[in-house]
Symmetry: C2
Subunit: 430 residues, 2 copies
């Protein structure tokens, strides 16, 4: 039961539609389970956090927070070097995203935009098997560059204490505190605030379905801002006959390694490449059997190789997919990329596997999934900056423009006050 | 029962807390009512739109859409001139917001951001008494500048047909079609698509609580992107002793004119100004009695004048409020504005009443309410542009960075495939 190879064109509605459901993960069951937890944290604060942590994590905490500065860490210097290199690259790329406030004169008046940061941020870092310290860099660095004044790390407690790598990262990133509470209760602590945990206005970072449900629910209530909802990881690869089938198979398996619901879609014009990638996947399953059943389920059930008649058809379908990650490995990557409209992050050429962006190149790996890149962006400095628009109208311009305001406000039935608020400022009305 | 005047300082937690609930409008009742409507439109498409329009609007439609180009309009040239002036100013301010794609080299690799527009947009325009053609300009112009390829206008049908001003605006803004279906069914048509109404990926614009509930629910399901949820309109005014009390009263009443749940908060250091504004409000109620009970309810029940000991206290509380509109009328507006962190749109100086921005100055009037400006921005070109990040890694850089990726992926338990996808591309592994 190898990976399916489909032969499609733009009319293959039935075969292609299953890749386009774009349905967000159904969080209703998780939401029902977490509602009492959210309510508990809201009403009983710290006390509830202690109780839920004992109940769900089997850990009796004596404190809910850690001041990173107060802890001695002993991280392997080689690991430090790797994370510092990643940090430096992520900082470079995100520094380039920062924007300056500006103003210009429009019709006699000064109009402008002042960028200000969100007031506070919580970054969620999952624990246990899904310990992704790299995501801490990705969540915190753009916020630091946006000058978010208060940042806390929310992470589940561990039997052997919080991993040193997280504490060390909190130190070098100058995070205010680590809140050692995970799951929905950790998210609730950040959204409502408790005696020990200051309220955050924004929360980002990956988590399980309870974390996702808590973020989604609290954001819907207007209690906290969130990054775009994160579903299973996906990659789309556009490749032609010159691409390396072994490398492509590796890249597809990188996604499969995240979970059995992950997906990898290869779009190609070349039947031979399609067959070769299929074979390379089977070879890889033999050579690298770690997490085999998970990877196989992702590849066999949620992934596909689709052969299209032309490169333009491949691009068309990639734009329909709006994938989280898009690799382009063709003879002319630039002209393919020029036609790409929707993707979270794009990896051009044979030496740009997604893993480079996951860890070290400098782009952000917190990306919209489930076709979200049609309307959402990756995490970036902009995520944490607001455009506060402003204007200073001159007396002269107000006089000139008043007749227009009068007509427009009359048409909308708002002339009595809106119109008057301008009229009283004109000559002779003072 | 005049407007309340409060004397507060930063410790007046109890008096001030009621302004800070920031509770988003409770849409649960509205949500329950619209769910069957959404389901009806999803399942029965056009047929459901015809039925609901007859049921809720009492209008039997023969067609659901209008091609603006096919209609002759006869709008007063003076009205046209006013809207064209506004259009020109809004275009100037929003053109200045447009950003160019860029790339730069980071650690040997080319990294960049390509801006692409959301694929399609629906702009909702309420009908009847709340006919705000100015909002059509505000919703459509930023999207046009972002090059959104497909834009439709959703608006309830009227007994006497769609108002000419809306059709004319659709013509000059080159809107693809007008969908003459309002309320939750109009929003559902845009989110799901029907036989006559193409699906839109994004929807913006004000509406009643059914419209707000439909937008919120469908956005939560991942079916459509929305602007920040719009609640009742608000203004905060920071003023000192030199400000004109009559003008301030007018500006407060401009907000009150929107609805009885609107609010206007004056923050001042000057008791005399506070008293004078209170008196001017009473005078205005006598002089301009249109919508009197609505305006009085907004002013007496939802508004306040708060006297603080210092200008810094006024600024502090304004940042706590994070108001939709903020007017600054003081001796030194620039230094006050420099300390403003959270506001939707700011109006500097005596000649900048909110009404100027509502209609004609060029800034956008679709703004976050209910303290949303702590984390959200006004509508702008950025609302409709996504940052697609990209990277092209060189062979040399991949070789150099591989050892770091290896260490980091090992730490995250993802070395087998993530690590391998980089390793296979290094020398000697081909």
């Amino acid at each position: 039961m190898p990976i399916p190879i489909l032969h499609c064109d733009r009319n293959s509605k039935e075969e292609l539609s299953r890749f386009l459901s774009g349905a967000r993960e159904d969080l209703s069951t998780a939401t029902n389970r977490i509602l009492p937890i959210l309510e508990g944290v809201r009403n009983r604060g710290d006390l509830a956090l202690f109780e839920y942590t004992e109940q769900f994590d089997g850990i009796k905490l004596s404190e809910l927070t850690i001041d990173p500065k107060s802890v001695k860490t002993n991280v392997d210097p080689k690991i430090k070097e790797a994370f510092l290199r990643a940090k430096s690259n992520i900082e470079s790329f995100h520094n380039a995203q920062k924007r300056e406030s500006w103003s210009q004169v429009v019709d006699g008046n000064r109009l402008g935009v002042k960028y200000t940061p969100v007031p506070s941020l919580a970054v969620y870092a999952p624990g246990g098997k899904a310990l992704y310290p790299s995501s801490v860099l990705m969540g915190v660095i753009p916020a630091k560059i946006a000058c978010v004044p208060s940042i806390q790390l929310i992470t589940p407690p561990q039997k052997n204490g919080i991993p040193e790598i997280l504490i060390w990262l909190a130190q070098i990133l100058e995070i205010d505190r680590i809140v050692t509470v995970g799951g929905a209760q950790g998210i609730a602590a950040a959204a409502y605030g408790t005696q020990s945990v200051p309220k955050s206005e924004f929360i980002v970072g990956p988590g399980n379905s309870y974390v996702a449900a808590a973020k989604s629910f609290l954001s819907g209530q207007g209690l906290i801002g969130i990054d775009s909802p994160a579903g299973p990881s996906e990659v789309c690869i556009i490749a032609d006959k010159d691409a390396n089938p072994k490398w492509i198979a590796c890249d597809m398996l990188s996604q499969a390694e995240h979970g059995e619901d992950s997906s990898a879609i290869l779009l190609t014009t070349d039947k031979t490449l399609a067959e070769k990638v299929k074979d390379e996947l089977e070879i890889a399953f033999v050579e690298r059997p770690k997490r085999l059943s998970m990877k196989q389920k992702a590849i066999y059930e949620n992934s596909s190789i689709i052969v299209f008649p032309s490169m333009d058809d491949c691009i068309w379908f990639s734009n329909e997919l709006a994938p989280e990650h898009l690799e382009i490995q063709t003879k002319d990557n630039e002209s393919v990329f020029a036609k790409i409209e929707h993707a979270g992050s794009v990896f051009l050429g044979p030496y740009s596997p997604v893993a480079m962006g996951d860890y070290i190149s400098g782009t952000n790996h917190i990306l919209p999934t489930a076709r979200g890149s049609r309307i959402y962006s990756s995490l970036g400095v902009d995520t944490f900056l607001k455009r506060v628009t402003f204007q200073e109208v001159t007396k002269e311009s107000l006089e000139t423009l008043y007749p227009f305001v009068k007509l427009m406000s009359e048409l909308e039935g708002l002339d009595e006050e809106h119109g008057t608020s301008v009229k009283v400022r004109t000559i002779g009305q003072k």
